[in-house]
Amino acid sequence: MNHQPCIAIVEDDKDQRQNYVRALECMPVQVLAFADKHSALQALTQQRPDLLILDIILGQEYDGGFNLYSQLNRQYPDLPVLFLTERVGEIDQVSGLRMGAWDYQPKPITIDYFIAKIESLLRLTRNSNSSQESNQITCGQLLIDLDRRHLFWQQQPLSEFTMTEFTMLEYLARRPGQVLTYQQLGQATFGGCVENNTISTHISNIKRKFKALDGDFNNIISEYGQGYRWRN
């Protein structure tokens, strides 16, 4: 008998919460939806979800999502979390990632992208829990563990990559030497066309995280006007 993954959604807005639940009905998953931190905490301490989708602002509590995750993380250290929020500031993103969030997705989101994101995260969850050998790709000194969503550069782990950055880096690394246009990167990462500057900002963040580990990192090349390419 197949075990249906349990997805917990904590969203204080009733309409959005219902839309998420409705969208997930087409998937073979069990959905638990909560309107506030208190009810979510009470239920989820009794049942560990396979994936937690959290809004950060819950009712009057500005950091309600962060606080809830912080408490649950003590009980479930490996709990996969997707922050789905209107707070898009870099500080919020960094805070979420440092707490252990798997991804940080700004609102608004389309249902299709939402489902794709959930599927991706569930796949990662399954793979990370699997005892089988991980699905890995190597690109020069870069090792990408696709299943466990782990990155290694010169055998040193890279941390605090969002799912967007992880996906963008994977897309580049799978096509070394090939110039990937802004449109291609946007399509691969965001599922559609985005501003060139949005892509560049993410690439800049990726480079910064590499350079924190290796000051001489210079493997992502800007193809001015077109996009970027990975150089081994």
Binding site: A23, P108, I111, E223
Partner: protein
């Protein structure tokens, strides 16, 4: 009264206007107070001097009341008859026929007139070192030289001088003046019939004559030893108006035999008595009932303004002397002149009135005199004691005080003016500095860069008030600016939840209406939603651009390579984009994708405004330490009115047709400007020649 600014200290007496008022009052009161002090002191000294003088005169009068015989030695004279009068003089005279050195003695001159005023002259006599010095001013416009008549000199204009020697013999001398000033002296007999040159040696008698505007002046000097004890002298002027005319003779006609005048009228006993009583710089003269001088002692020293020893320049001395004379004339008025005041005083004294007066003396500043009648027990007036005293000393003290006050006032006023100048100069400098600091708080686009005013906010004066007021206003403006700049982010933040509701609802609806014909409306709604999201993202991104730029590290990049690559790709998309510049070798410190973003904006701009099928020229060149990127297109030019807000946020010059649904909010050039400034550069624009288009230029500092 305006409302006080909150937080502004009440300054009270520290306010500038009070400081200036205090300085002005001190400035105004200083000379006035000094003047008042001197005036009061001067009055006191004058009163003291007058009182002391009156006491001296009274004591002398009382003394002579006890010795009435001293006042009755001379024969009675007609009061109508002028007489020769010898003054004691203090300095020798130059026998040059000039009156210049006779100024002090002019007041004592005796005047002689013929009954019909045909002959008129004045005689001044002085005595010094046993020499008799005389000066005759003859008022005669028709002087006839003795050389005119070779036959008889006696018919020319001349002076006849007669005296009686110790042996009681008469001597008659004739003094003939010449135009060159020399005087020929002849002697004659009592009838004047025998003329012979005077045989005395040169030390006996010297004379000189000079013509002047009023006639001629004859000056002579002779030893008193030539005359006897009583020093009997007679003078006569001979005046001939025309050749062959009858000479007119006007003699001094003294009271002695043959018209002689005894020059020595002084009583030795009275002189001795006066000398014993006289103290200090006083001149005391004793007169009998006929106002004959019986005794005289002391003298009034002459001293005038001109003897002041100024240490300033000549010009300044003239100004100061003139100024002081004005002041002195107002504080020490004199009532008249000596030759008018002294006789008036003496006549009043003879009438039994003790009187004091002050008058000016030629070449001197003033005399204060007291005339005291000598009245015996029978109330008979025996004579007059005249005490004269120069007020030089008093006036000198007064002048010195005024001089000091003037100097101190000038120095003080200069100091105060200098202080005021420095104060206002400093004030102006502070205001300018405050202006600069205030100006620096706001950038050229009117944005408050900082509300922290670091100048004059701790000052305790009005400028401090102003600075604190400005700081408060700046804080409010910055707060309001912060509120305005946060509106896009706040709006974006607040609107994203409902947008997410719509987005997810549309997503679910799309699933349910997969095959429905109504799906096209759903798709339209989704596209609209997508545009709204784009608008929000752009607004939020532009609003936080500066903050984002601050967090992005710069790297050394090759600008030429960047633009070359960028344009190469753009040319693939749009062949009319042409790059004219180097392909490598211009380095700068920059965030490459931000420069790309700026190029995107400028290129979008050029595409929107160019004339169809015309090229867009991208250029790059380096000049010194600056690299300039230019993007030009043919199309409408920019007018000055549009240019004012060209680089401001949310300013668009695009025609409506090109605005699009979600594309342009007038953020592009604002983003370009912000990126350029973040890299230490500047963006500018220029219309192409003949108004055929526009070129935008980004000027960026290169890294050598």
């Amino acid at each position: 009264m305006g409302k006080a600014i909150a937080g502004v200290t009440k300054l009270g007496l520290f306010k500038l206007r009070y400081q200036l008022l205090a300085i002005g009052l001190v400035l105004l009161s200083l000379p006035y107070l000094g003047y008042r002090f001197i005036e009061a002191t001067s009055d006191l000294l004058q009163q003291s001097q007058s009182l002391a003088q009156k006491q001296v005169a009274r004591s002398l009068a009382n003394l002579f009341v006890q010795r009435p015989e001293l006042l009755l030695q001379l024969p009675e004279l007609s009061k109508q008859q002028p007489m020769l009068f010898v003054q004691r003089i203090n300095h020798t005279k130059t026998i040059d026929g000039s009156a210049n050195d006779w100024q002090d003695e002019m007041a004592q001159a005796s005047e002689f007139r013929s009954p019909n005023d045909q002959v008129h002259y004045t005689v001044t006599l002085g005595k010094i070192d046993q020499q008799l010095i005389g000066k005759i001013q003859v008022y005669d416009q028709h002087w006839l030289s003795p050389d005119t008549f070779s036959s008889s000199r006696l018919q020319s204009d001349h002076l006849r001088l007669s005296y009686i020697d110790r042996q009681q013999q008469e001597h008659h001398l004739l003094l003939f003046g010449k135009p060159n000033g020399s005087v020929q002296i002849h002697q004659t007999n009592s009838q004047g019939s025998d003329i012979s040159p005077h045989q005395l040696n040169q030390f006996d008698l010297q004379a000189n004559m000079q013509l002047n505007g009023e006639g001629y002046m004859l000056e002579w000097q002779m030893p008193l030893a030539l005359m006897g004890e009583r020093q009997l002298l007679r003078l006569a002027i001979v005046d001939t108006d025309e050749a062959g005319g009858t000479p007119k003779v006007l003699s001094t006609q003294g009271p002695e035999t043959a018209g002689y005048t005894a020059l020595n009228t002084l009583s030795n006993q009275a002189m001795a008595l006066l000398a014993g009583q006289q103290e200090g710089p006083l001149s005391v003269t004793l007169y009998d009932q006929q106002l004959n001088r019986l005794a005289h002692t002391g003298h009034v020293p002459s001293q005038g303004f001109d003897t002041w020893n100024w240490q300033f320049s000549d010009l300044w001395q003239q100004v100061a002397t003139s100024l002081l004379k004005q002041i002195m004339s107002s504080t020490n008025p004199v009532q008249g002149e000596a030759n008018l005041s002294r006789p008036r005083l003496l006549n009043l004294a003879l009438a039994g009135i003790t009187i004091q007066d002050r008058w000016a003396q030629p070449n001197s500043q003033g005399i204060q005199a007291t005339a005291m009648p000598i009245i015996n027990d029978q109330q008979e007036i025996l004579g007059v004691v005249l005490v004269e005293q120069g007020i030089d000393q008093l006036l000198q003290l007064q002048r010195q005080a005024i001089e000091k006050v003037v100097v101190i006032s000038l120095v003080s006023i200069s100091f105060i003016l200098l202080s005021l100048f420095l104060l206002f100069w400093r004030l102006a400098q502070r205001i300018r500095t405050l202006g600069k600091h205030t100006h620096a708080l706001v950038d050229e686009y009117g944005r408050v860069q900082s509300a922290s005013l670091k100048y004059a906010t701790h000052s305790q004066d009005e400028l401090g008030d102003l600075a604190r007021g400005i700081a408060q206003v700046m804080t409010r403006l910055q707060s309001h600016q912060h509120f305005l700049s946060n509106i896009p982010r706040t709006l974006s933040h607040e609107i994203k939840n409902p947008l997410n509701t719509i987005s997810t609802s549309l997503g679910n609806l799309s699933t349910e209406l997969a095959e429905s014909p109504s799906r096209e409306y759903l798709n339209a709604a989704q596209r609209g939603l997508y545009k709204i999201e784009g608008i929000l993202n752009k607004l939020a991104s532009a609003a936080s651009l500066e903050q984002a730029l601050q967090q992005e590290p710069k790297e050394r990049i090759d600008l030429a390579h960047l633009i070359d690559c960028y344009c190469a790709y753009q040319t693939q998309v749009d062949p009319l984009v042409q790059y004219q510049g180097p392909s490598q070798g211009i380095y700068l410190s920059a965030v490459d994708y931000r420069l790309e973003q700026a190029l995107d904006k400028l290129l979008d701009n050029a595409r929107d405004f160019r004339i169809n099928n015309t090229p867009i020229i991208v250029g790059l060149h380096q000049q010194g330490t600056w690299a300039t990127v230019t993007i030009s297109n043919q199309g409408p030019s920019i007018c000055a009115k549009q240019a004012q807000h060209l680089f401001h946020s949310m300013t668009s010059q695009r025609p409506e047709a090109k605005q699009g649904g979600a594309g342009h909010f007038g953020l592009g050039l604002f983003v370009v400007r912000t990126i350029c400034e973040h890299h230490g550069g500047k963006v500018s624009w220029q219309n192409l020649p003949d108004e055929q288009g526009v070129v935008f230029s980004m000027r960026l500092p290169v890294q050598i």
